[in-house]
Amino acid sequence: MNAMDEPLNLVLFSGTDDKLQAAAVLAAGAAALGKPVNVFLQYWALDAFSKGKIDGDHGLAPEAGAEGRAAVDALTKAGQASWAETLRQAKELGSVDIQACSLSMDLLHLEPEDLDPLVDGTEGVTAFYLNAGEGQVVFI
């Protein structure tokens, strides 16, 4: 089996815009190469995918500081696509499946209809591992 046939498996935990942007870039790059991508949304990352919140401001990781904030704002002002838009394009381009972690759904009191249409469904960790196959698992 070709290494490019194995999926890239991204576990998103953090809900800040910088980490979600970094994850979206990894997903889009893999999709452009024809590599399948599975995204598993946990905790605060899942919250960021809820309807009405997805295009809002989710802040940055603490290490960003004021300089990091200014740098990110400058890229946004220069027209950088948001992480949500990057993921939408990645889904149009390739096989990108985005699943909500069922435990995190309970934690955040979310129902499937509360999530943005970018999210394809809800699954448990066992289904995630089954779909991950022999591919790399990246936790962000």
Partner: protein
């Protein structure tokens, strides 16, 4: 700019990684085998990215130049 005939041009100037590759991959999906796409990018990572994308997908780089911060590629669909 291109010295070979191109069927489509993707202007990716000003776009950050990975958008030049994403836009190109989208454009190539609509082409027939053997057709070519010209890409103009300013992302400094695009030289290595297009080389990697070409190697992985089999779409060949038939022309590549750099001029004053602009990178120019012509790719032929596999």
């Amino acid at each position: 700019m291109a010295t070979v005939s191109v069927d489509l041009t993707v202007d990716a100037r000003g776009l950050n990684c990975p958008m030049p590759i994403v836009r190109t991959a989208q454009a190539v999906k609509g082409l027939a085998s053997g057709q070519t796409v010209e890409v103009i990018a300013t992302d400094p990572g695009s030289v290595k990215d297009f080389a990697a994308w070409s190697k992985t997908t089999g779409n060949e780089i038939v022309e590549q130049t750099a001029d004053g911060g602009e990178f120019h590629f012509v790719l032929r669909k596999k």
